[in-house]
Structures are given as C-alpha cells and as structure tokens.
C-alpha cells in the first residue's frame, strides 16, 4: 500500500507539471492579459511598466520557472481582479459549487434510479422508451436556455422560488452552506434542478440497462423459480447489484458537473467556482485560470484514484462469483 501511494503521488505530481505547462502555453497564446484588464485610457508606458513588474514581458519558459518556484512555496499567484491569492479565492468559492453539485447529484439519484428501475422492469413498453427518451431532453437543450425557461416558469410566472443568487447561508464547522436555511434551499432549487439534468439522463439509462442485463442472469432466474415476487427481486437483489456501478459512475460525473456548473452558475448568479472561472477567462485573469485548472486536475486525480479502488474492491460480478 505504501509503495502504491508513493507511485500515485509521483503520478499526480507529473500530471500537475504537465497540466501547468499546457495551460501556461495556452494562456500565453490567448494573449497579453493586461490589454484586456487595464482601463482603455491607461497610457502605454504604464502598461509596459506593469508588464515588467508582473514579469509578463519575460520569455515563456522564464515565466514558467518563476511560477513553479513560487508554486513550490504554495503561492499560485494573486488574482489580477480580485486582489486575493488565487487559491484562497477558489477555496472561498468552492463550498457554493460543491453543495450545488451534491444537491444536483442527489436529485438525479433520487429521481433517476426509480425511473430507471421502472423503465428496465417494463422492458419494451412504450412508457419505458418514453422515460429514457425524455431524459435525454434535459441535456440536448443548452443549459442556459433551460435555465432561463425555468426562471420564467417557476420564478416569474408561478413565483415559487427566487430568480437567482445564493440566499442565506448557515455556517457549520466553519463552512457556509445553503442547505440548512429555508431561503438557501429556495435559492438552490432551480440551479440544482438544472444541474441534475445531465446525471439524471445518464443514471436513468444506466439503471435501465443494468436491470435488463441482470434480469437475464442466473441468480434472478433462480430467485424467480423460488417464487420471490418480481418487485422484491428488483429492489432487494437487482438494485443492490446495479447500484455499485452507478455510484462509481457518479464519482466521475461529480467531477464533470463541477465543469458543467459554469453556465448554470452564470445564469442563476450562483457565486461558485464555475462562475469564477468563466469570469476569469473573460477578463484573462491568468493566475485564477491556472490555479483553477491545477485544482480541478487534482480533484480528478483523487476521484479516479478512489473510483479505481472501489471498482477493484467492490465489483459486483467478482463478488457474485465468490458468493456462488
């Protein structure tokens, strides 16, 4: 286990290095950030001077070495716009995104699994087809459009929930969360729903496919022969077996959703890291872009590590083989 962890750590560091090089070259290609940031009436000589001060006039490799050296001291640069160390900035915005993503996943799971079971159980019924086809709707239409329609319907016409923003937050163990206040939950309802559409479609489909595959398996046939009711087989046996791959898949979706949150957060004015990164990209806030990417890569590394562990340890088929 020790050697395994060391190897993993090594892989992680190499990955971060490579990502930092790619992103450095990438933002360098986009162009001089000062030309986007500074007020149009700032004189050219001031821009040049600032360029020198920030080291942006140096050749790419020199800038990179400088960046790595300060990164080793834990300094990923200060946001050009927000006057905060970029890591601190990301940390301050992260809880908002995480709770949104978790809420979206929970909705997707709670709605998706029953619908998927239903669709799988009814096999070729037209309702089954309709469920899985309709689930695709949510992801084929662009998020910004669906989000605005949700706002028009649920906020403006029906007046059920606010149009956007984060609402009141409660602080638990030093972390702010909207999940514990009524206003927080009301503000979160629409963005979480919008965000749940992508995982919802995937979960419905995975559950449905899983049910259909397992229905053909020997243990289900055996259970049927024993006279156990189909509903009980579905919930007690099949569901337990297909849940594990779904949960592992959700690990991967979790990471993807953080990226997906960009548009949702923009339209619902949700102050998370998705809105932060898109705003930062728009104004070329380089230190934030770089820190964000390094952070997200680290997150994906950790997720894929955990997913690998879980798949290896809990693969249902392996367990089934052992059980029989």
């Amino acid at each position: 286990m020790g050697a395994f962890l060391v190897r993993l750590l090594f892989q992680g560091i190499v990955t971060l290095l490579v990502v930092s090089i790619i992103i450095f070259v990438g933002v360098f290609a986009i162009g001089n950030p000062l030309y986007v940031l500074v007020d149009p009436s700032a004189p050219a000589e001031v821009v040049q001077e600032t360029l020198r001060q920030l080291g942006l006039d140096r050749p790419l490799h020199e800038q990179y070495v400088r960046f790595v050296l300060s990164a080793l001291r834990g300094d990923l640069g200060t946001s050009y716009v927000h006057a905060l160390p970029s890591l601190e900035l990301i940390a301050s915005r992260l809880p908002a995104t995480l709770e949104l993503v978790v809420a979206g996943l929970v909705i997707a799971f709670l709605v998706g699994v029953p619908l998927g079971l239903l669709a799988g159980y009814m096999a070729n019924n037209w309702l089954a087809r309709l469920i899985s086809s309709l689930s695709i709707l949510g992801i084929s239409l662009p998020t910004f459009w669906i989000a605005l329609i949700m706002i028009i319907v649920f906020s403006l016409e029906l007046g059920w929930v606010p149009t956007g923003g984060r609402g009141d937050v409660a602080t638990v163990l030093g972390i702010e969360t909207s999940l514990l206040t009524a206003s927080g939950l009301a503000h979160m309802a629409l963005p979480a729903l919008a965000l749940s559409l992508f995982p919802l479609a995937l979960i419905i489909r995975l559950t449905r496919a899983g049910v259909r595959e397992h229905n053909r398996m020997d243990y289900v046939k055996f259970a049927r022969a024993m006279g156990i009711s189909p509903q009980r087989i579905l919930v007690s046996y099949v569901l337990r077996n297909i849940l594990i791959p779904i949960v592992t898949m959700m690990g991967l979706i979790f990471g993807t959703l953080v990226a997906f949150a960009v548009v949702t957060e923009t339209v619902f004015a949700w102050p998370g890291i998705g809105k932060l990164i898109i705003d930062s990209i728009k104004v070329s806030d380089r230190p934030v872009i770089i820190a964000y990417l390094l952070f997200v890569v680290t997150m994906f590394l950790v997720i894929s590590f955990i997913v690998d562990l879980i798949t290896a340890a809990l693969d249902p088929r392996i367990r089934l083989v052992k059980a029989s």
């Binding site: 986009i30 162009g31 001089n32 950030p33 000062l34 030309y35 986007v36 940031l37 500074v38 007020d39 149009p40 009436s41 700032a42 004189p43 050219a44 000589e45 001031v46 821009v47 001077e49 600032t50 001060q53 920030l54 200060t78 050009y80 716009v81 927000h82 006057a83 905060l84 601190e88 900035l89 301050s92 915005r93 605005l148 706002i151 028009i152 906020s155 403006l156 007046g159 606010p162 149009t163 956007g164 923003g165 984060r166 923009t266 339209v267 619902f268 004015a269 102050p271 998370g272 809105k275 932060l276 705003d279 990209i281 728009k282 104004v283 070329s284």
Partner: protein, 533 residues
C-alpha cells in the same frame, strides 16, 4: 477602545428599539435597497482601476473630488482647490470630513492613499494609469495637499477623482484580504462596510456621521448578476429593486410592466468603426483572386466615404439597439466638452455610396473582414453582423469576425501584430471629462513613446490634427480647450479618420416608486436612487 464603546452604543440602540416596539410605537421603516449590478467589485480600493470600481469606492471610501452624473467635478473630501501656478494645484480638505472610525481626514491620509495607489505591488490594472503626468504630491499642512504636474494638465481633477482615500494607518499596513473581511474597509464615504461575499454581494449601511449630504438609504445591498437576462428576471421577480445595464431589447417589456420604471439617459460614449488607413497592404482586405489588395482601398477617401454612406445609422439604432442610442456625426458625444457643433449628419445613401465606390475603381467590391468584440459593448456582436450586412449591400464581400475581448484586445492593442482592417470600437470620456481622452488615444498618430494613439488601431496619421490635439492637452482654460478640441474633431471626421455610428445610452430600471438619476459614465450609485414623491 473606541470599538468597544461603539458596540455598547449599538447595543443600547437595539435595546431602545425593542423597548419602543414593546410599547407599540412603530419606528420609521428602515430604508433598504437592493441593486443588481453587472460588475463585480474589487474591495481593495487601490488594486484594480476601472469605472465600476471607482463607483463603489466613492460610495464607501470617498475621494478628494467626485464626478457627478454628467462627469463634472464636484467637491468631496476637498472642499476647494486652486492653481498655485500652471503646474501646481493646492487642495483644501473639508475640516468636517471624518473616516468611519471617527478620525479626521488629513493631508497625510491623502498622501498615503495616493502613494499606495501608485505603488501597490501585483496590481495589474494599476491606478498609476489614472495619474499620468502627475509628478508629485505632498502635504503642505494638516488640511492642504499639493499636486505637481509635468505640464499644464487640465485633466488633473478627473484624474484624482479616480483615487479612493483611506486612513494612512490602513494604507500602510492593510493586506488585500483585510478589505474583503472588512477589517481594513474604512473610508470616509457616505456608506460603511457591512459584509462582502465575493462574486455574490456587497452590503453597505448608512454612515450617520457623513459630513456631506446625508445618505438616502439605511442599508444598501449590491448583488452581482452578470448575465443580462438573469438581471432583468431578478427585477421582474421582485428579488431586487434596481438593475443596471438593462439590455435595450427588454426596455419595451419593462416599460409596459405597471410595477417597473425605466430610467434612460445619454452616455459619454460613441460607437464607431476604425478603417485601416495606415498600411498600403491591409491583412483582411483581399481582391477577387483571394490575394491581398494593394494598395489598400481604404487609403482612398472615396472608399471610406462610400462605407460611411452605406451605413444606415437610424436602422442600427432602431433595429439593433431598440432605440438605445442616437445616430452620430462625430466621435465625441454631444454633452462632452470638445463636441463639434454644427457638423452635418452623416447621410445614408446607398446609390451614391455605390457610385463613389465605383469612382474609386472598386465597382466589383473587395473582400473585407470586420472585427468586433462580442462581450464588451451592448449588442456588439449583433451590431457587427448588421454592419456586415450594410457593407455587403454596398457590394463588399464581407466576413464578420466577432471575438471575445480576451482575444480581441490583445490582438489590436499590441501594435506589432496584424491588428484589423476594419473594426468596431467604442470610446468614452469619463477619465478626461472632455474630448481629450478620445482624441489623444484614438485620433492622434500612434506614438507609444509619447503616450499617444494607444487605441489608434487604424494608424491614421495627420500632423495638423496631432498639433491641435497636443495644443488642447496643455490648455488649462476650459472654453479655449473645447474650441481647439472641436476643431480637431471636425478635421478628423471630415477626413473620416474613423466612421462614427451612434452615441450610446445608459438604461437603468427599478421597481415603480423609485427614481434613478443615470450617470453618463454608467456608474451605479446608491444615492442616485430615490423614492418618487
């Protein structure tokens, strides 16, 4: 010690309030306002120089002088000023001015604030950019600050209006995070800091001890909603009371809504096109054979004239801007000093435009790409396409390239590269208060070593106009300066150095029952909101 006393006082007030309620006396309802704004704020007042940040700063921190809704200079922390000689200005501080912590505002605080604004490390958009030509500042006595300029500098007042004043103690020690937590967010403005949540909201409360006109609201919440449609929805849904940067397309619906009032006004900005007049071969001008066209047709005045005539400005304003704008005949807005009076409107006449083009030898047109931003100005991508259409009707084979400003600005502002052949841009006068900004940056020949022509993307060059611009920049007398500037504007437009499109509008919307005094530089100011009588 003082803080202690303050919190005790607050406690007392709260108890008194409770007591009042208990005996059935309802206190006057607290005046509270929530404003949804497009622009996020940088809490450190000396870190990021931009017009929206200046607007936040002046409400919370205050500055020596402030700019009013027409971008005119008004006294604030300085109650008066005088010219000692042509390059020396003395500012007399208002003896009543107090910081939020109760300390008086002194000359030392002003000097410390300007020092910090000039020397703050890591500031990418430094306030240094606002203080061009300012060579020094010092405290003459407790209540007098002296500024020195390199040359006679008529823009000085507008320049120092950009810089927020904070206590010298804070300026010397505060870290950026201290402004976000509120620990260092101490100023002398009409409102004081309550809470800041990055990306979400800034909450301010009335500064009861403000020395100037009393603030209008007990509590002000600025909510950041950057998406246009979401901001409008927030107002329609009643989540906020005021929104800035109303998309023109929604004005009709908002005006028809009985619960909503729309407040419009003109800005200091003009939208215009920049033809490439500086190169014999322009990168995005091609002949029918797909090869670069030499000479660049836009060097010919008749081609520029044809292009200017092919643009239906009224249609742009009516159909693309939904009426939010006024067709322009020059690049300096009417309310700005230096606007040239009596110039004829730029006529729309497609037939004559085609004749002119043919006369110049381009009856079959040529390939031309128009470049625009798509996330910088109101409707910029749509305007770009509409202009593409109009020039296509003239007979040019148009390509429309609308790019995010993060890509577009580095491309044009680095004068070494390709730049563009035809580009749409907008320029305002907020930082000079007259035509000077637009003239020195966009019309004067490109001369980086002297700080001229930074935004002269087409590299237009005319020595006589340059001389007029430089003369105006050193003329302290406003009337005289305005005359010279309007002469320069007139000459530049007669030669179509740039092709003006329209003057832009500022639109703010509120719930019914609220008034809003719009600002020409589009700042969003809480005290510009008032209850209707």
């Amino acid at each position: 010690m003082r803080e202690d006393r303050q919190s005790k006082l607050k406690h007392l007030v709260a108890v008194a309030g409770l007591a009042l309620m208990a005996i059935g006396v309802i206190p006057a309802q607290a005046a509270e306002i929530t404003i949804a704004t497009r622009s996020e704020m940088t809490m450190d007042p000396h870190f990021f120089w931009s017009t929206p940040n200046r607007a936040y700063n002046v409400q919370l921190y205050g500055s020596l002088v402030r700019l009013d809704e027409r971008i005119r200079v008004q006294p604030m922390l300085a109650k008066s000023w005088e010219l000692v000689d042509e390059t020396t200005w003395d500012f007399q501080l208002d003896p009543e001015a107090r910081f939020h912590n109760g300390e008086p505002v002194t000359a030392a605080d002003v000097v410390a604030s300007f020092d910090r604004a000039l020397n703050l490390p890591n500031a990418a958009a430094s306030y240094k950019g606002a203080l061009r030509g300012v060579t020094g500042f010092e405290a003459v006595d407790q209540e007098t600050v002296r500024f020195k300029t390199a040359k006679p500098n008529p823009a000085l007042l507008h320049q120092i209006a950009q810089v927020a004043i904070i206590p010298a103690g804070v300026a010397g020690t505060a870290r950026q995070a201290d402004f976000i937590s509120g620990k260092a967010a101490i100023g002398a403005g009409p409102y004081r800091f309550v809470e800041f949540k990055p990306g979400d909201r800034l909450v301010l409360e009335r500064n009861d001890k403000y020395f100037g006109d009393q603030p209008k609201w007990d509590k002000v919440v600025f909510r950041v909603i950057s998406d246009d449609a979401a901001r409008v929805a927030a107002l329609l849904g009643g989540d906020v009371e005021v929104i800035d940067y109303v998309p023109p397309v929604d004005v009709a619906r908002l005006e028809a809504d009985p619960n909503i009032a729309v407040h419009k006004g003109t800005t200091d900005r003009t939208m215009y096109l920049i033809p490439d007049t500086g190169r014999n071969q322009s990168p995005y001008v091609l002949g029918a054979d797909g090869k670069p066209l030499v000479p660049n047709p836009m060097l010919d005045f008749r081609v520029r004239k044809a292009m200017a005539m092919a643009i239906d400005r009224q249609a742009l304003v009516d159909r693309v801007m939904d009426g939010a704008g006024v067709p322009a005949n020059q690049n300096v807005a009417p309310a700005v000093l230096g606007h040239a009076e009596g110039m004829p409107p730029l006529a729309f006449d497609l037939d004559q435009a085609r004749n002119l083009l043919a006369e110049a030898g381009y009856a079959d047109g040529f390939d031309l790409t128009i470049h625009c931003t798509n996330d910088r100005y109101v409707n910029d991508g749509r305007l770009c396409q509409a202009i593409g259409q109009m020039l296509a009707r003239l007979g040019l084979r148009m390509t429309v390239e609308a790019l995010p400003k993060a890509v577009m600005f580095p491309k044009i502002r680095d004068h070494q590269g390709d730049r563009t052949s035809l580009m749409m841009l907008s320029f305002g006068s907020g930082t000079s208060g007259d035509a000077g900004g637009a003239l020195t940056h966009t019309i004067h020949s490109y001369a980086p070593d002297r700080g001229f022509g930074t935004w002269n993307i087409g590299h237009y060059s005319n020595a006589e106009i340059d001389a007029l611009i430089e003369e105006a920049a050193a003329t302290l007398d406003a009337e005289e300066r305005g005359k010279v500037q309007s002469q320069a504007v007139k000459r530049a437009i007669e030669d179509l150095a740039v092709i003006p499109l329209f003057y832009t509008s500022v639109i703010v919307a509120s719930r019914k029952g609220l008034e809003y005094q719009v600002h020409a530089d589009q700042s969003t100011i809480a005290d510009s909101v008032s209850k209707s009588e």
